[in-house]
Amino acid sequence: MNESKVLQELQRALPTGRLITEPAAMRPYETDGLTAIREMPWAVALPGTEDEVREVLAVCLEHEVPVVPRGAGTGLSGGARPVQGGLVLGLSKLNQILEVDVDNCTARVQPGVRNLAISEAVAEHGLYYAPDPSSQLACSIGGNVAENSGGVHCLKYGLTVHNVIGLKVRTIEGDVLELGGKGLDYPGYDLLALLCGSEGMLGVVTEVTVRLLPEAPQKVVLLAAFSTLESAAGAVSRIIGEGVTPAGLELMDQLTLRAAEDFAGAGYPKDAAAILLCELDGDATEARALQRYAVRLFEEEGAYDVQQAESAEQRERLWAGRKAAFPAVGRIAPDYYCMDGTIPRASLVEVLRGISELSERYGLVVGNVFHAGDGNLHPLILYDANQEGQIELAEGLGREILELCVGVGGTVTGEHGVGVEKLTPMCAQFNAAELAQFERVKEAFDPARLMNPGKAIPTLTRCAEYGGMHVHGGELPFPNLDRF
């Protein structure tokens, strides 16, 4: 590739100052939220219009330059990490809210708009955008689509895929896919669902239409304290099973709740083996009725203490500890590694036990704070990167935790994506034919394989090597784990 020629062409496609090639200026783009993995980009383009996106892609296609789309760079699996010799296509300048349609309860926005900015822009109409990743202050809606991100309130209101109703996507070949719209269902293959969670490997999302929901007038947060993990897990299964879908249902184990309490002073009972935070919402009558029902249910399941927060101030206090959980645990050790497996709820106790055994075996402490209602675990592995070998230990422990999740019928990632981080665990979840099917789907959108190469889908070679190292009850390179 004639580098200077390509750079010239890119320069022509972009306004002054929107093509970055200075190493110092590119440093912020070296990594995403998974900071342990870095790579210097070849160049960074920051288009401000869709036309500029199109032109940049055309140059990259012609000269076979790999393209890594990037939103806010908060991803936790290395999805936006640059690839060698590749261009980072930063979408943060495409940050306009194009339309708020109150009658239809929709908003049409550019991909660089921050998640929270949508809710802020429509709050005056009593509406909001439901999926609320903890990173919502910073992360972009384009990144949310690419990761199919979730949040605390997704238990009741759904993930990104359930709340996005329209997309405009630009493929590397320059085609525009207009998917969905303001209505609910459109005929044809559900490319919109396919794009959700596709990690920037199929195309660049250039416009997103989301549905907006009415704010619930009444909210209550309950804190239920349990003296055993089993009883907390039992309460989770029961409340979900009885049709009292909480807006959010989070579990914290003793290590995490103590750290959070020390950090945030939220009023958590430090003697509890586990606590549940349960938010219920609805109109006034509904929320009240749910509250009564849930309190009784928690007591029947063995909660020895149930706090009920009704005022905004009390609710925020209870949530403060949960929100501070990651930084709080971060104070116990210099570094932590956040995992993201999802399991059937019935396996909660079994898997948490397994994690604590692994934790002992590896000699690394693991805290658990997670979206209990949908079985999405976030084990936090504590380690010290300055001590030799600890990163590798943490990664090994993480991999075994994910294998445990797959073993009980779960998945290696519930909401953070595969990126570059979970390529190897993917080999435990999919066999060669399935991986080849993924590859053919990729080819349908990106035959030149320039979009975010090397992410999300492991190569067969990689899995063969991995299979040689980890053999699950057989000597096949792709142990056919029972997943159904």
Binding site: G183, D283, G375, R440, V441, F445
Partner: protein
């Protein structure tokens, strides 16, 4: 295992591939009449519930399992399919419900068929058995190829088994009915959509606006008071609407009259003459003698699309054609659906 026909279906696909003989997949025949079939492959004998643990709120069943059987089983644990698939003439299979992707009256509140699909096991056009997704609520490992099967009408492969999220039945349910004009009905539906309430379905037809309320008994009662009108405890309306058994669905096309299904922006103006409105305005059933171009033009300015009721869509955009080839390179499955771009 009784009802497990996966091996036979794999064989059927492999010999079809060897003979270059396209297949028309047939379920219970509730949505696609058998007469339409060329080289038919009956897939509904692959049936039976594989796994159902009520406390997990997940059910896995083979594609040919009758919906009626699934619903009866779920009801024993006071659970239901959130997407309320139509059982036309009381028939229909889970595979057919997923393949057509037809969602029921609760679509805007309880989600679409694809929202409930967690995983599939399928046979692609290479005769390979593949599993995507799983039985858990959140899963972003690999592309979401299980949701992609929803609404694909079997053109990407045979659905051997499907895992779906199920939901508990409501603690209480009732229906409110008000008489009003069409425009007022739509504006009420939109007003309801903008406030939190236990509404889980709305429908306007023949001068009557109906709202289904589901939730805790107290809140259903309070919301019913607010909405007003006549209260009906056990309305059969929602079942008949779901199963397309209301009179508007029954009368035959003819005399230039045709029934259209229109998906559009929910607040968009209604068509000039009477139609059935549901999903808070986002789906409309319009029986009209208007010219096809006029119906399409109406749908387009309403931000949507019009389809003849009950018709299968065509998967003929360039990227859909490429996706088809990615799953089914020889064009074995229901190739008539991809006609515009026959696989090379």
């Amino acid at each position: 295992m009784a009802g497990d026909r996966a091996a036979q279906l794999v064989d059927a696909v492999r010999s079809a591939a060897a003979d270059e003989q396209p297949l028309r997949l047939l379920g219970a025949g509730s949505k696609v009449p058998a007469a339409e079939a060329g080289h038919a492959l009956q897939v509904d004998e692959n049936r039976g519930v594989v796994d159902y643990q009520p406390e997990e709120l997940v059910l896995t069943a083979r594609g040919g399992t009758p919906l009626a059987e699934i619903q009866a089983l779920l009801h024993q644990s006071r659970q239901q399919l959130p997407f309320e698939p139509p059982m036309i003439g009381g028939r229909g299979t889970l595979g057919g419900a997923v393949a057509t992707g037809w969602s029921g009256p609760g679509r805007p509140w309880r989600g679409a068929v694809r929202d409930a699909v967690l995983g599939v096991e399928m046979i692609n056009g290479l005769g390979e058995r593949l599993t995507f997704g799983g039985q858990v609520m959140k899963n972003v490992a690999g592309y979401d190829l299980s949701r992609l099967q929803v609404g694909a009408w079997g053109s990407l492969g045979i659905l051997l088994s499907i895992s779906v999220r199920v939901t508990p039945e409501a603690h209480a349910e009732r229906t409110c009915q008000l008489e009003c004009a069409a425009a007022e009905a739509l504006s009420r539906m939109r007003a309801w959509a903008r406030a939190h309430s236990p509404i889980t379905a709305t429908c306007f037809e023949g001068g009557v606006l109906s709202a289904r309320l589901s939730g805790m008994a107290e809140s259903v009662a309070a919301a019913a008071e607010r909405i007003g009108g006549e209260q009906v405890p056990d309305s059969t309306l929602w079942r008949d609407l779901r199963d397309r058994a209301l009179p508007v669905f029954a009368s035959q096309d003819g005399d230039g009259q045709r029934l259209w299904q229109i998906h559009c922006a929910p607040a968009a103006e209604l068509p000039p003459d009477a139609c059935l409105v549901e999903w808070s305005g986002a789906r409309r059933w319009w029986r009209t003698d208007a010219r096809v171009e006029d119906v399409r033009a109406y749908a387009e300015q309403a931000g949507g699309v019009a389809l003849p009721a009950g018709a299968a869509p065509r998967f003929d955009s360039p990227h859909m054609a490429r996706l088809k080839r990615a799953f089914d390179p020889q064009g074995l499955f229901n190739p008539h659906l991809n006609d515009a771009h026959p696989p090379q």
